[in-house]
C-alpha cells in the first residue's frame, strides 16, 4: 500500500495528528499507510508527548487487530518513519514518531548558530545582528521558537540536511504522498512548512537528486489563528501579533508557494479566536484542550488522500486546489457545532464513524464485563473471557478509548464548541477533563438532534445497550482469526447496524 507521509510541525501539527489518529481509530480510512513525522523542537511539549503516546497505542492495537479487507476500527495502518526505513533499507531508525533536529539540544539560539565563534564586531556578526534581535539570539530553544519563524527557519533547515530526511527521501516512492501540517501564526510551523516544501520540490537531498520526490503529490494545511493567549505584553508570545504574522506569512505563501505551483492542494482553516488559552511557553505545562479546528484540519488530510485528481509534472503541481473548511449554519448567540451543522460531505465522513467508536467505547466501559456469557462472546472460539479482559491489549484499548472520550469532552468544552453528543465532562481538581459520561442512560439518546426511530413493535424492541448486545449476537457464529480481531470487527459491524437502523 502506498504511504502518506504526514509532517506535523510544531504544537498545532501534533494536535492535528491527534485528531487524525482519533478519526482513523473510528474506522475512517485514507487508502494509504500513514507515516506521521512529528517535528517539534520543544522536547518536553505535553501535546506532542500525548500525541506520540496515542500513536504508539494505535500502532499496537492495529497490529493486534491485523485487519484484512473488512471494515473495522483502527483499520488504517500507522507506522513510524523508522519502521518504513527498516523495511526498505539497512539504516534503521528508532520507532519514534517524533524526529530530533540535529544540533538542537536546548541552549540559546546564538549557541546553535555559533554566534560566539564569529569574529567579535566583524561583518558576519554584524549581519547576524541585523537579522536577529538581542532577545532572538538569547532565546532558549529548549521550548521551541516561541513565535519566531525567523529562528525556526534557521534551525529547521538542519532537519532537511539530516540523515532522517535523507532516509525519508530514499524510502519515498512514486505512489506515495506528502502532507504538511503547520500553523501560520506561531514560530515552528510557520517556518517549517515552506522550508520542507522547498526541499521536496527541489528534489535535492544531501547532494542526491530524487525525481519522484520532486514530482510528489504534496498537500498542506495552514492553520490560521483560532485562539488567543492570556497574559500581558511582557510575555514572549503575544496573541496580538497573530493576525499580523498571518497576513505576512499568507503574502509569502502566495508569492513563493501558490504562484510557483509548488503545492497540489492547500487547505486553509481559521476560527474567531474567542477562546483564550493560558500563555504557557512550551514544556509540560502547555496542555490545551482539543479543538474542532484540529479535527477539521485532520479531515483535510483525509480529503487530500482521497483526491485522485492531483498530479505533479516537472516539479509543478497540475491544477492545484485551494480549499477552506466551513460549517453550514451557526447560531450567533449559541455557537455550538453538532453533526447537523456540518455539510453533508463532512457528515458522511465522520458522523457514523465517530458515533460507532463512542458506542463501542461506552459498551466496553459499562457492559462487556457483564456479558461474557452472551452468545457473541462465548459461542464461537476464540472466546471473549475474563482472561482477555485482563490482557495488555484490552488495557491498552480501554486507555485509548478513555483518551477518545476525553478528546470529545475537550472539543465540547472549547470555543467554538463541537458538541454532537449529549455527554457531560468529568473534571478533576486541576480543571482537566478526565472523562465523559452520557447524560441519558439510553444509548440511543446520545447523539444530539437524533432520536431513535419509532416502531410499532417498540414494546418488544431492545433498548440502549441491549440493542448493541443483540446486534453483536447476530455475529455469534462467524469465525475470526484472533480474539482481538473478533472484538473489533464484531463491534464495528454491530455499531454500524444499530446506528444506521435506528439513528442516521
Amino acid at each position: 500500500m502506498p504511504k502518506l507521509y504526514v509532517f506535523a510541525i510544531g504544537g498545532t501539527g501534533s494536535r492535528v495528528v491527534k485528531s487524525l489518529t482519533m478519526l482513523l481509530a473510528s474506522g475512517v480510512s485514507t487508502g494509504y499507510e500513514v507515516v506521521p513525522i512529528i517535528l517539534d523542537p520543544d522536547s518536553s511539549a505535553a501535546d506532542v508527548a500525548k500525541t506520540e503516546h496515542l500513536l504508539n497505542e494505535y500502532r499496537s492495537i492495529h497490529k493486534a487487530v491485523a485487519p484484512n479487507n473488512e471494515k473495522v476500527f483502527f483499520k488504517n495502518k500507522i507506522e513510524s518513519l523508522g519502521e518504513v526505513i527498516g523495511a526498505v533499507g539497512t539504516n534503521a531508525l528508532g520507532n519514534e514518531f517524533r524526529l530530533g533536529i540535529e544540533g538542537l539540544n536546548g541552549g540559546k539560539f546564538k549557541d546553535f548558530i555559533d554566534y560566539n565563534l564569529l569574529e567579535d564586531g566583524g561583518s558576519n556578526q554584524a549581519l547576524v545582528d541585523v537579522l536577529f534581535s538581542e532577545s532572538n539570539l538569547n532565546l532558549d530553544l529548549e521550548v521551541g521558537f516561541q513565535g519566531n519563524p525567523n529562528i525556526g527557519s534557521v534551525v529547521l533547515n538542519k532537519f532537511t540536511e539530516s540523515e532522517e530526511f535523507n532516509l525519508f527521501a530514499n524510502s519515498f516512492s512514486n505512489n506515495d504522498r506528502i502532507f504538511i501540517i503547520s500553523s501560520i501564526f506561531g514560530g515552528t510551523g510557520a517556518a517549517g512548512f515552506p522550508l520542507i516544501l522547498k526541499n521536496i520540490r527541489h528534489g535535492l537531498v544531501n547532494g542526491k537528486h530524487y525525481d519522484h520526490l520532486r514530482n510528489a503529490v504534496v498537500g498542506a494545511i495552514t492553520v490560521m489563528p483560532y485562539f488567543k493567549l492570556d497574559g500581558d505584553n511582557t510575555d514572549n508570545i503575544q496573541s496580538s501579533t497573530f493576525y499580523s504574522k498571518t497576513k505576512a506569512a499568507l503574502h509569502y505563501y502566495h508569492k513563493n508557494i501558490s504562484e510557483s505551483r509548488d503545492i497540489n492542494a492547500l487547505y486553509y482553516i481559521a476560527d474567531d479566536n474567542n477562546n483564550v488559552y493560558k500563555n504557557v511557553v512550551g514544556g509540560t505545562g502547555q496542555k490545551n484542550d482539543s479543538h474542532f479546528v484540529e479535527l477539521a484540519a485532520a479531515l483535510a488530510i483525509v480529503d487530500f488522500a482521497n483526491d485522485g485528481s492531483l498530479s505533479t509534472h516537472e516539479g509543478n503541481a497540475q491544477n492545484p486546489k485551494y480549499k477552506e473548511f466551513g460549517v453550514n449554519d451557526l447560531s450567533a448567540s449559541n455557537p455550538v457545532i453538532t453533526f447537523k451543522d456540518l455539510s453533508h460531505e463532512t457528515q458522511n465522513q465522520i458522523q457514523l464513524n465517530l458515533t460507532q467508536l463512542l458506542f463501542f467505547s461506552l459498551y466496553l466501559e459499562s457492559e462487556l464485563k457483564d456479558k461474557l456469557t452472551a452468545p457473541f462472546a462465548k459461542e464461537t472460539a476464540p472466546v471473549i473471557d475474563q482472561n482477555f479482559l485482563s490482557s495488555i491489549f484490552y488495557g491498552r484499548l480501554l486507555h485509548f478509548l478513555d483518551q477518545y472520550r476525553i478528546w470529545l469532552g475537550e472539543m465540547k468544552r472549547n470555543k467554538i464548541s463541537f458538541s454532537p453528543y449529549n455527554i457531560a465532562e468529568l473534571i478533576d481538581n486541576q480543571g482537566a477533563i478526565i472523562g465523559v459520561t452520557p447524560q441519558n442512560a439510553d444509548l440511543m439518546q446520545l447523539v444530539s438532534g437524533f432520536a431513535q426511530r419509532s416502531s410499532i413493535f417498540k414494546l418488544f424492541k431492545e433498548k440502549s445497550y441491549d440493542l448493541m448486545t443483540a446486534a453483536l449476537n447476530e455475529h455469534r457464529k462467524k469465525k475470526y482469526p484472533t480474539v482481538e480481531n473478533k472484538l473489533m470487527v464484531q463491534s464495528h459491524d454491530a455499531t454500524a447496524e444499530i446506528i444506521t437502523k435506528y439513528l442516521f
Binding site: 452468545p375 459461542e379 441491549d466
Partner: protein, 130 residues
Amino acid sequence: MNDLFALFYEKFYYETDFSLEMFDRFLYQKYAIIAIISAAIFSLVFYFLLDRPRFAKIGLWFILLTVASFVSAGYLYNDSKSIMERDNLVFSSEAYFGVAIGSFVLTLFVFFILSLFLRKLSKNLSRTPF
C-alpha cells in the same frame, strides 16, 4: 402410548382403583401430552418470544420451567379431580397430588430437553441456561 405414560405416572402414585380409572379414561396419555405441550409452549416463549439480551438469565429460564411444570401439574390435579367427581368417584387428594407430581417432573424433563435444542436456534439466549 397410554400404556407407556401409565407406567411413568404410576411410579409416582399407584392405587388400583384410582390408577385403573385413570388408565381406562386415557387420562395418563392426555396429561402427558398436556405436560409436553406446556413444556413446548413455555420453552418456545422463552427462546423465541423473549429472545432479548436482557432475558438471558438463568433465573428467568428457571421461572418459566417452574411455571410450565406447575401449569401442567395444576391442570392435571384440577381436571382429573373434576372428571372423577363428575362420575361420583371419590379418591384421596394424595392420589391427585401424586400423579400431578408426575406431570410436574415430565414437564421439567421435556422443558430441559427442548431447551437443549431450541437454544441453538435462539439469537440471544443460546447460552442460557448453560
